[in-house]
């Protein structure tokens, strides 16, 4: 009798792992930056007339940084979601235009809609390296104190936005500035 129960036991262990795996998002990569102050930057904006932007300018609010490029195919996957997110006005979304041709980037944004309050130009990818960018697109949530609280690697999904990012942003927004 016992040996006939063995397949069932193996299957039970397997399904326990699968059940546990359901709550793990394979796209969520750990980041050494979580809980650390966001790396500093001071970069020109993509729009030619805009002033330079530094992370100090963004203190005191919860904001999102989305790493994107016009050459990045996966960015097109998430673009509609970003535009929708911006329209809802949950939190300001800033773009980090990563290793891109400014002309191509401006053309892409004008054609498909601009979800960003502003995009900063990281032509040589230096700021991307500081942020540990591993593949474009990536999205970071940064709190009122300028601390990185969340990182999403790869294109955003509606589920990731609704179940993780938006609730996190709302919680961070309700925190008091010390």
């Amino acid at each position: 009798m016992k040996r006939f129960l063995l397949p069932l036991a193996v299957f039970a262990v397997l399904s326990a792992f699968l059940a546990a795996a359901l709550s793990h998002d394979p796209r969520r990569l750990p980041s050494a930056l979580i809980g650390q102050p966001a790396p500093a930057f001071d970069l020109p904006q993509l729009q030619p007339d805009g002033p330079r932007l530094s992370n100090a300018d963004l203190k005191g609010q919860v904001w999102l940084l989305n790493v994107w490029a016009s050459w990045c195919v996966s960015c097109r996957d998430e673009h509609a979601l970003l535009v929708e997110f911006a329209r809802r006005g949950v939190a300001p979304l800033y773009g980090l235009n990563y290793k891109d041709e400014p002309d191509a980037a401006r053309e892409w944004i004008s054609r498909s809609g601009n979800p960003y309050v502003a995009s900063i130009v990281d032509g040589n990818g230096q700021v991307g390296i500081d942020y540990g960018v591993y593949g474009v697109p990536e999205t970071f949530v940064i709190d009122k104190h300028g601390v990185v609280r969340y990182r999403h690697a790869g294109p955003l999904t509606a589920a990731a936005l609704d179940t993780r990012i938006v609730p996190l942003v709302r919680r961070l927004q309700s925190e008091q500035v010390r």
């Binding site: 009798m1 006939f4 129960l5 397949p7 069932l8 299957f11 039970a12 397997l14 399904s15 792992f17 699968l18 059940a19 546990a20 795996a21 359901l22 709550s23 793990h24 998002d25 394979p26 796209r27 990569l29 750990p30 195919v73 097109r76 498909s112 999904t157 509606a158 589920a159 179940t163």
Partner: protein, 696 residues
Amino acid sequence: MIPEIGHFALIVALALALVNGVLPIVGAARGWTHWMRVAWPVARAQFVVVAIAFGCLAASFLGNDFSVLYVASHSNSMLPPVYRVTAVWGGHEGSLLLWTLLLTLWMAAVSVLSRQLPRAMVARVLGVMSWIAAGFLLFMLFTSNPFARLLPPAVDGRDLNPLLQDPGMVSHPPILYMGYVGFAVAFAFAIAALLSGELNAAWARWSRPWTTAAWIFLTLGIMLGSGWAYYELGWGGWWFWDPVENASFMPWLAGTALIHSLAVTEKRGAFRSWTVLLAICTFSLSLLGTFLVRSGVITSVHSFAADPARGIFILAFLSIVAGGALLLFAWRAPKIGLGGGFDPVSRESLLLSNNVLLMVAAASVLLGTLYPLFLDVLGLGKISIGPPYFDSIFVPLMTPAVFLMGIGPIARWKSARLPELAVRLRWAGAASVVAALALPWVVGGWKPLVGLGILLAAWCVSASAVALWERIAQQQGPLAARFSRLPSAFCGMLLAHVGIGVFIVGVTFVKGYETERDVRLEPGESLTEGGYAFRFTGTREIDGPNYRAARATVEVSRDGRTVAVLHPEKRLFIVQQTPMTEAAIDRGVFRDLYVAMGEQVGAGNAWTMRVHIKPFVNWIWAGCLLMALGGALAACDRRYRLVPRKRRAAVPAPVSVSAPASVSLTVPRSPRGAAPAPGTATREAGTGSEAGEAGR
């Protein structure tokens, strides 16, 4: 209106499935004939109703009804009509609908083609399959309704994923799913046998043609998928050990083991609990594949957006189906008994060894696919497992399996002698060694792994030739008559084994001698690779229905003679702004010339081009075709059709399974009828009840 009809049809189908899941099974348990009778008409009705739902979804696609969310996200008014139909299974919801449609198609087929089977058996089989259908219908209705409306409607759709806009995609998913779902029939037969307690040779004989049919579809489906990846992904690879590919390969390995194990159970009454376990495993692996692909727990080029609710549902469903089946197995299997005994050297033990090797291979693929997930769950970090793991596992596992495959068909049942087998196969062995030494040297230089591959391939072919020769030599009369008397199951087996050999030739030579070059070419420039000169003459813009493309012209010549003019394309699909590489291939028996366009470089008309030369690559798919063809021959064997006629003649005599002529031909040295093995008794007991039921 049409989507609502489809939605309603799904609800009706669920109600029918629930009815059919209860009445026939209860009826079979209590012996209530009128409850069992429900199974046949309701099974066909389930098929009709699901087909109506499927037709409604197809109609919504054809009519560009963008008020249906699924249509809006997978189609576009510019999409050519044929792809609007195939877009039905281009996403999650529609794939499930296709799955359910094919499941009910198999049910309808069982209800039509199983007249000779006992009523209670078929009633249970259809009942079990109805439960599976009910699970999938619930899944669709609660978490993935393909008919959900989008209000306000979209102006136009988001278009079908350009990767799927390809003729290969028209046939690959339905045929692959036919295979996946077809194993539900073998599963249902196993559960029905466990429920009734009649796990005997008759059960094995009934489920064999169904299992083989499902296996044929799965083989063809994997072949089409691999061929599609080869020309559509533009990397020139034909198998990537991607989790989704593994999800189809695991049931194939288990199904192959099941086919062989069923043969032993039918012929010798042995391995009965092992065969039942394999039937459960094969279908559970099909379901597990569905779980892996649909829940998004694993990242893959194929995976769709993850939805935890769907993952939970499929996991719960998998646990009920596989867990319930395994529980039933643990409860019933101890009473099954062992069947005919056999010696350590015999056809039974050869087949058992092959079975174990195939299942170890399936388990290794499962481990390789899930290992990253296990580590992640245990918090031990993120890793990914690639082809090196699978390659290093597969060669050592498949080498002995292929070696045994050559011996199995000529070994005696029950007891065989090694020295005698060695003598009979000595010429096959010698021919294989010569081929292994000579052929690689002729094709491109001797390498140890290529030599091993050719040794195995030649062994498959030459050992099959020996088996054929011995069978022919035993018979009397002119040669043509001897051939025509061969049972088609025997020919099918040999053909499938030769198919393995052809497949190994393809894999070996491609892996051993393929070459590729990435070069930047200005118009007019050329590159030389493997004796072929590829001259890039330029590109021109063309407009497709829903894409724009740059089409290059590459003239391939050898020794000054033009061999082929190839037109690779770089397409930009307008709606999704996705670039796609359309490789151009000059196919041949001994080599493929494969050209894919990379990116445009600089301001001029220079492009990066990738050129592959793939020796013998088409043998990979030719081998799969031969395997499928062999399966078809085996499934069509006269013996499966002769049974009813014979039994009708013999209804009064319950113990009259004296084998029809073709059966004794299949196993010339079988002691069947002569030495009654323990299995024989149960077989005849089983057939007795079968004969009793046949009077309905």
